[in-house]
Every structure is written in structure tokens, then in C-alpha cells.
Assembly symmetry: C2
Homo-oligomer: 531 residues x 2
């Protein structure tokens, strides 16, 4: 791993405010998932002392950082984006070395990462995030006057962000949770994912540089490295932390939720956890374009070695010749895929166990399988399974997530069985319907049910590839997330780190600027929108 000119050298340190901190004791290395070799340097394990130091600094930064204006924070986020971009090939090469993700994916993820930082800058400049609502006073109202009521949103306080293994940039150190929390006015303490500590350090140093450039308190941002559950639990339990953003496994998310609930003062944990992203192939769509759909399906299943939260792990189709043709084409497409590397040996092992268990389930057939490069340290074998609706309904494990490039096609007996299956689905990030004109009635019924199950409904597409915008929802009912009323992607994510406060009869000179009578911010005034 070479370092590009101008990019910081990796030190293995946690970044706690302005200080590089390399705790004594055992450390850990990143591992190249292609070769299986350890990557330098060694990263020190942060512990309770480092958590305390980072959160004390974050709490000290909060009174200053929360009072920065939206314009100031917009400029800061844009500066973070610029510093991340300036890392250039030093960053993308390290991402590739630590994750094995293909170059095009890394480039796309980098663009998304800086793009969402800049998108939050536009949100901050717009001012709608203040959530201003005004009820004007009615001093002569009988029997009691109406007071002057002015509502705005305030940041909740220091936020803990857990980097995701599968998005080393877009949902890691300067990813969506960090961007939305910083946008809201909350200092951030990131626990970097131990699978990509070098990527985390590079990006962390870029954020720190922006903190320095903008004269912000050092505790506005810290990055802790570590591999232990204790580190994460200590961070969530710390009384200075006021909210948590997490993307990862169901077990990990639930452990953090439990830790947050055990606190003397519980806090919200926004955990994005588990989704199999069901897809429904309706008869008209299969008849019109089944084989073409099979090809794009295989791409969505196996891209990034299937390590995407929105990977389509379950496909439902009514049994019949068109479904046979789809399965044949999908099997052939999967067979042409060469296994990519999984992010870690642990994830690779979990994939093998999960896929082997599915293959061994009575009533499940393995109909397609990719190839493995024998040189690959942690291969993720693409596999396509098929079962029938009766087996699916009587084998609850088949509805669970297998993280990686596998998918299960369920041949459904009839529409009644399809209804039964839909009625039993757990909460999902996405649900997809492939349809043609002739499928209208069934599609309408299905979408009407799926909107109760998922945060995003797609038609004639694939759920992988999440657009970052104003309208996106990356969320959904439990177990997809722990907070179904929110999204972790898109501009509404800022709401997770804000809380409304109303000021009653507070004189103008004691009100925050956005609540002044002449303030030029979007507001709801006596129930009427003012832009």
C-alpha cells in the first residue's frame, strides 16, 4: 500500500479531537480480502479511556458547534467533501485493498459520499431544516389570550456513528449518518468499522482538516478504532452521547438498542439492520421479458458480491412455464459470474454457512452457481436457489437474510398463496414489483400491501443502488430498521438528530435568528406555509 503524494501517512491512531491517540496493547490490522494478507499499519484498540476522551471533547464542542449557522455548517460540509476528494488515489486504492470492491464501485461510492455532503449543504442553506412553525399571538382572544408560539428544531447533542462494513465511504466515517448529524449541528464520534481502518483514518483526517480550516472546536469530530463489542457498547452507554446511527447486522443493531435502553436516560438508536428485499415477478412481466429480467436480476444479486443492504434475496413468481424460463435464464446468468471477494473472512464464513443451510433445506434446489477464483482469500460464491411456496411458508428460516451473492426464487402456487406469503413478510427496506399492463389489478393489490411492509416500493427495477435525494426513504418497519418513521439516506435523515422546541412569549432579542419576525426562512405560520 503506497501513499499518494500529499495524502497523510497512515499511523494506526484513533483521532480524538486534535490528537492522534495510539492506545498501548494489542492492535489489529486490516486484511486484504483478495490475498488474505494483513495490511500495515497496526491499529490500536480504543477502550473506555478513549471513549471518555472523545465524548468529553464532543460535549465541550457542542455548545459552540450547535450555534454555528446553517451557512457555516454548509461551508464546513463542503470542505469535508473537498478534503475527501483531495485524497485521490491514496483513498481509492486503500478502499480497494481493504474491501476488494471493484474500482467502478469505489469510484461511484466516493462520488455518492461527497455528493451527499454537498446535498446536506444545500439543505442547510435552504433553511427548511429549522422546522419553523409560528402561531401568532391573539391577545384579545376569549376566554384566554393566545400566546406567541415559535417552534424550531435544535440538535440533540453528540452523536455516535458506527461505520458499516459494506459501505467503506458512503456509510462510514464521512458517510450518511455523519453528514446528517454534522448538518444538524451535532458533534460526531465515529467508531470506524475494523475491516477498513486505513480508509477510516484517511477520511477521518480529511474531516479533521475541515474542522481546523473552519475554526471549529476539535471535539466536533473524533474517530475511534476497535474490534470489540465492548467499545461500541461503551460509546452508546456514555451519558454525553444523545443519539446513535448504525448500519449493520440485526444482532449488532439490537445489542446497541438494548444498551441505549439500559441507560439511566435512554436515547434513540437509528439502526438499519436486516432486509431480504422481496421481489415479485408478475405473470405479464414474465411473459413479456422474463429472460431479460433474469439477466438484470443476476447482476443485482451478485454486484459488490451481494453485500448490499438492498440486495434482492427473495423472488416470488407464480409457478408456470414463464417462471421456468426465468429460472433457467437466471441460473445461466449466475453461472457466468465469478465470485468476488467478501469483505471479511467473517462475512465470507457467514455466507457459506447461510447458503449451505439453504442448499441443505428439504424442498430447496440449487439451480445456479458461479465460479470461484482459487487464489481468492475470502470468496463469495454466487448461488441461486429455488423452492416452492409450501416449503417457503413452512420453513421460516428461508425468509431470513443471507448476506452475500445468493438469492432464492419461490414458485408460488397461486394468487391466494402469494397473498399468504405477503401477509407474513417481516419489515423490509425495499419491495419490488415487476409488472406489465396486464398485471395492473394484482400489482395494485400487491403495492397496497407492500407499502405496509417496506420503506421503498420499486416497479420494474432492482433495489440495489440507492438514490440520494430529497424523496429517498432508506428505512422500513422492524427488523429493517429500529426506527421506521425515519430514513438513513436522503435529506430527511437530518431529522433524526433534531428535536423541536417551542418558544412561548420570548422577546425578539432573546429568540434565535430564524424565529425573528423578519426571518427569511421557510415556515408554517398559523398553519399556512411561507417559503
Amino acid at each position: 500500500m503506497s501513499t499518494a503524494p500529499g495524502a497523510p501517512a497512515l499511523t494506526g491512531s484513533s483521532l480524538i479531537g486534535a490528537a492522534d491517540v495510539l492506545p498501548a496493547g494489542v492492535g489489529f490490522h486490516a486484511v486484504d480480502p483478495v490475498s488474505g494478507t494483513e495490511l500495515e499499519p497496526v491499529y490500536g484498540e480504543a477502550g473506555p479511556a478513549e471513549v471518555e476522551r472523545a465524548t468529553v471533547l464532543a460535549a465541550a464542542a457542542f455548545p459552540v458547534y450547535r450555534r454555528t449557522t446553517g451557512d457555516q455548517r454548509a461551508a464546513f460540509l463542503e470542505s469535508v467533501a473537498a478534503h475527501v476528494e483531495a485524497l485521490g488515489s491514496a483513498l481509492t486504492e486503500r478502499v480497494t485493498a481493504e474491501t476488494g470492491l471493484p474500482a467502478a464501485r469505489v469510484a461511484g461510492e466516493l462520488a455518492r459520499t461527497v455528493g451527499q455532503l454537498r446535498l446536506f449543504a444545500t439543505v442547510l442553506r435552504d433553511g427548511g431544516w429549522h422546522g419553523v412553525r409560528v402561531d401568532t399571538p391573539l391577545p384579545d382572544r376569549s376566554p384566554l389570550p393566545r400566546p406567541d408560539l415559535r417552534q424550531r428544531s435544535v440538535p440533540v447533542g453528540p452523536v455516535a456513528v458506527f461505520g458499516a462494513s459494506n459501505f467503506p465511504l458512503a456509510f462510514s466515517v464521512a458517510g450518511g449518518d455523519t453528514a446528517s448529524a454534522l448538518a444538524a449541528g451535532c458533534p460526531v464520534v465515529v467508531k470506524g468499522h475494523p475491516a477498513h481502518p486505513g480508509t477510516s483514518e484517511l477520511v477521518g483526517r480529511a474531516i479533521r482538516a475541515a474542522v481546523v480550516d473552519h475554526g471549529l472546536p476539535e471535539g466536533t469530530f473524533s474517530l475511534l478504532h476497535g474490534t470489540t463489542h465492548e467499545l461500541g457498547t461503551a460509546l452508546v452507554a456514555d451519558p454525553r452521547i444523545q443519539a446513535v446511527g448504525f448500519t449493520g447486522s440485526r444482532g449488532g443493531g439490537l445489542a446497541l438498542v438494548a444498551a441505549a435502553q439500559r441507560r439511566p436516560a435512554p436515547i434513540p438508536v437509528y439502526a438499519e439492520m436486516s432486509s431480504v428485499n422481496p421481489v415479485f415477478l408478475l405473470p405479464g412481466a414474465l411473459a413479456a421479458r422474463g429472460p431479460a429480467t433474469a439477466a438484470t436480476y443476476a447482476t443485482s444479486v451478485t454486484g459488490s458480491a451481494g453485500q448490499l443492504c438492498t440486495q434482492p434475496g427473495l423472488v416470488f413468481a407464480l409457478d408456470g412455464p414463464d417462471t421456468d424460463a426465468f429460472v433457467t435464464a437466471a441460473s445461466a446468468a449466475v453461472a457466468e459470474v465469478t465470485a468476488g471477494p467478501m469483505l471479511t473472512s467473517g462475512i465470507a464464513g457467514a455466507l457459506d454457512r447461510g447458503a449451505d443451510a439453504m442448499a441443505a433445506t428439504a424442498g430447496v434446489d440449487t439451480v445456479g452457481q458461479g465460479t470461484v477464483d482459487p487464489e481468492l482469500a475470502f470468496p463469495g460464491l454466487p448461488r441461486l436457489f429455488v423452492t416452492d411456496g409450501d416449503t417457503f411458508l413452512t420453513t421460516p428460516a428461508l425468509a431470513g437474510e443471507v448476506f452475500g451473492p445468493t438469492s432464492l426464487v419461490v414458485r408460488v402456487r397461486d394468487v391466494d398463496q402469494l397473498r399468504q406469503i405477503v401477509g407474513g413478510l417481516e419489515g423490509q427496506l425495499t419491495a419490488t414489483v415487476h409488472l406489465a399492463e396486464s398485471d395492473h389489478d394484482l400489482a395494485a393489490e400487491l403495492i397496497g400491501e407492500l407499502e405496509l411492509v417496506a420503506g421503498r416500493i420499486l416497479v420494474n427495477g432492482w433495489p440495489t443502488g440507492v438514490e440520494v435525494g430529497h424523496a429517498m426513504v432508506h428505512g422500513g418497519p422492524f427488523p429493517a430498521t429500529s426506527a421506521p418513521a425515519t430514513t438513513s439516506v436522503g435529506t430527511r435523515a437530518i431529522e433524526r438528530f433534531l428535536r423541536p422546541v417551542v418558544y412561548q412569549d420570548v422577546p425578539e432579542d432573546l429568540l434565535p435568528p430564524e424565529l425573528h419576525r423578519a426571518a427569511d426562512v421557510p415556515a408554517l405560520v398559523d398553519g399556512v406555509r411561507r417559503s
Copy 2:
């Protein structure tokens, strides 16, 4: 207890959909808190069978009720208001008999109750509640096209509402939680508070009449009577229930939160629990109008026998002659108050224990005490206590809520001690500052801290009396509520029972009407507000 002509006779039944259900076994009576006598009829204890029956009906109603239009639900809520109003003196007399609240308070609460139902009707007709966001497609964008993304909010499903003891109308069967959940499109199962079952039955029958008038499914609304914790826990644990609204004690709220977290699929509990509503009397205000402030303070402390969530239980003032004068005037004002009845013997007992403990605390003086009518069954003795800042800081119990007509004035040594006290406050529904021009700098600092502690900041008023409007926030950090990002009063309360869903590339004829391209609803289109 007479029944007015036209008002339904009380039966003691739970109202489960269209059926009156009177479970066998022991029942309970309401008790007149003035006389201590039991009021007829006997109310049957609902149990698991009734929970099951009500939630099954609610789940069956949901697919129909959630598809009603905003206009249809607006008309339904207005019909509920009209049916409640039509109960006339039968309702207000029963409220008085069951709660001992004064007639003016009951009349005001009735007006608030029907007013908030009608306010939610205006919200529904406005359409902003749909939360529409649209990102228009960019089919030619490189490297990937942007899909068509259309976000709206959907109701979460059947909601359990727990009636509050202290708001027999405005936060009970047809109160704020019910109004906001019904507005959102969620069927409601209310567990009525056992202290006012007759009031609950009357109001429940009014809602049922509106359900019938509007041809809605019977399961849109049910009312269960009962006194046991098991009933509440069973309701929260029921898999058909998707969210919970609760107003009551900290212990009760935390028990429901725990029950909701133990579910296989946890759900949000919106619990409004505990607040002492600190008030800060700044030097300029005390000098200018201390005695006048003392009179309004005593009214706020003892009104409704102090049984209001926003009752000011703690007052902080810098020690000195003006504070002496305030305490003297407040003591005199409290001494003139005759004890009103507490809502229940349990609440009266808790008040006596809490106030006795405070009176017995070393460093705390009882400086004012009202009088008790010896005929009163459950009197709530008004008491005013004074302590000093050192005692307050070293006696954490003094910062806890004593529900009833008591309050504690803390003589604070200096501004530094005031800062220390503010830094240690728990989350609150409200925080109040009394100030004059000369207090500007201290007030600015104080408000800057209090906005992190409370959901509502008031200047030169008293927190009792919550305005229901678009800008109100009745909420705050733990332990004031379990969900600090939300409000239980005001139009934003509807958001607690909604969840965003985005529709990606869904054809127009499969989209809900509010997402059609020509829809005339408020929306954020490509980040720009459209009214």
C-alpha cells in the same frame, strides 16, 4: 348521577367495535373524590380475550380505514366532536363527579377536546400531512439515470391509547392521542383510565356513533375498561398494535416501553411521563414585580389541585431581599388556597407521601400551607417549600416530581450555582424564565441552556395551560417523554403515527392520488416547496 335526556345510559361495558362487552367476574366503580362514594354502574374488567377481540377488529378495520381520504377523516373527526358536544351536561356532570375538577376547568377541557378534533380536520384538508416529496426523473443523467421518486406518509397501523387520569377529556378517550392517530389513518384501541370510566364510556359511545354515521368499519375504535397492569401490557404486547400513546407516571410509561421492546417486533411508545417544569425568577423581574408574580405562581401551582403535567414544581431565584419578598407573598397566597380534591385516593396518598418527605428533608422549610375542607374525601393540601441551592444540589430527590399542589423554591447562592443547577436538570416538558430588561444577558445564557432540557421555553408566564396549535411542542428529553423528537399536543402529533414510503418508478395509475403528477397537495419537488 342523573343522565341527561338523549345521552346514553351508562352500562359498565367495554365498547369493542359495535359490541357492548361486559366481562364476567369482579368489576370496579368510579369513586367521587369529593365524597369518596362509589358511582354506579360497575365496570367490567377487560382481559386478554377483550384485548384480542378489539385488536382483531382494529386490524380488520385498518385496510379500509387507512384508505379513507383526508377529507373523509376530517368529516369523521368533526362528527366525533359534534357527538361529544351533544352529550352536554350528562358528560360534564359525570366528569365532575368522577374527577372533582371545577366546572370551569371541565368546560375549558371540553372545548379543547372538540377544538383539537376540529384542528386535525383542518390539517387533513390541508394535505401537508401527506409529507409529499418528489425527485423528478433524470433519464439522461450519467453515469446512471435518476429514477422517479415519490414519497408520502402512510399510517403505521392500529394504535393503543392510554387515557390519562388528569385529563379526562383532552387526553383520554377522544383526546389528543386518539385524535392524532385517527387523523393519521390508524384505528385506535383505548384503555380508558379507571378513575373516570363513566366519562370514558360516554365519550366512547360518541366516537362509536361517528363511526356508524360515516360507515366506517366497527374496529376503527374500541374502548377497554380495566384497572390492571396486565391489561395495559397485553395491549402493548399484542402483535396487531403498531404504536402506543401514553400520558401518565414515569413508572407506568417505562413499563410500557419495556413491554414494547420485549415484542418480537418492537414498536414505538410515545410516553409523556414526568416533569417538574423549572421556573427561573431573574433579579430584575423579582425587583420589578415579585409579589405580583407570587400570586400568579400560587394559582399555577394549585390550579386543578396541581394535577397538571406542566405544573411548576421547582422555582429558582438568586438569594436576597427580593426573593424573601417573593417567598413571603407566595406563602401568603398559598395559605389562602383551600385544598381541592385529588383525582383518586392513590394520587392523594402519593401526594401526601411525597410532600411529607419533602417537608421532612433536612434543609427544607415549609413556608406556606393551604387549608383543607374536612368533608373532602381525597384532599390535596397545597404546600410551599423553600430550600437553598446547596441542599438542592446534594439532595437529588428534591428534583423529582411530586404530583399535586406543591412547589419548592430554591434560594440560589449566585449565578455560578445557578449554572451548576441548570447543568444537572433532567429533561422537562417546560422551562420558564421571568425576566426584566435588565436580566437580558443572564436570560440569554439561561434560555440557551434550557432549550437543551425542555420542549417548551416560556418567558414571563406559567407553563400550565397548553395551547393546542400548529407550533406547540408538548414533549422534551427523557424522562419528560420517551420520544423527545415528537410532540403529543398540537398538529405535529400526527407525525407519530405516520411513516414515510417512497415509490420508485411506479406508474401513475398505481400511485396513490396524492402522488399523481397533477396532485394539488403541498410538496417538496426537487428540494423546492410547492404549496
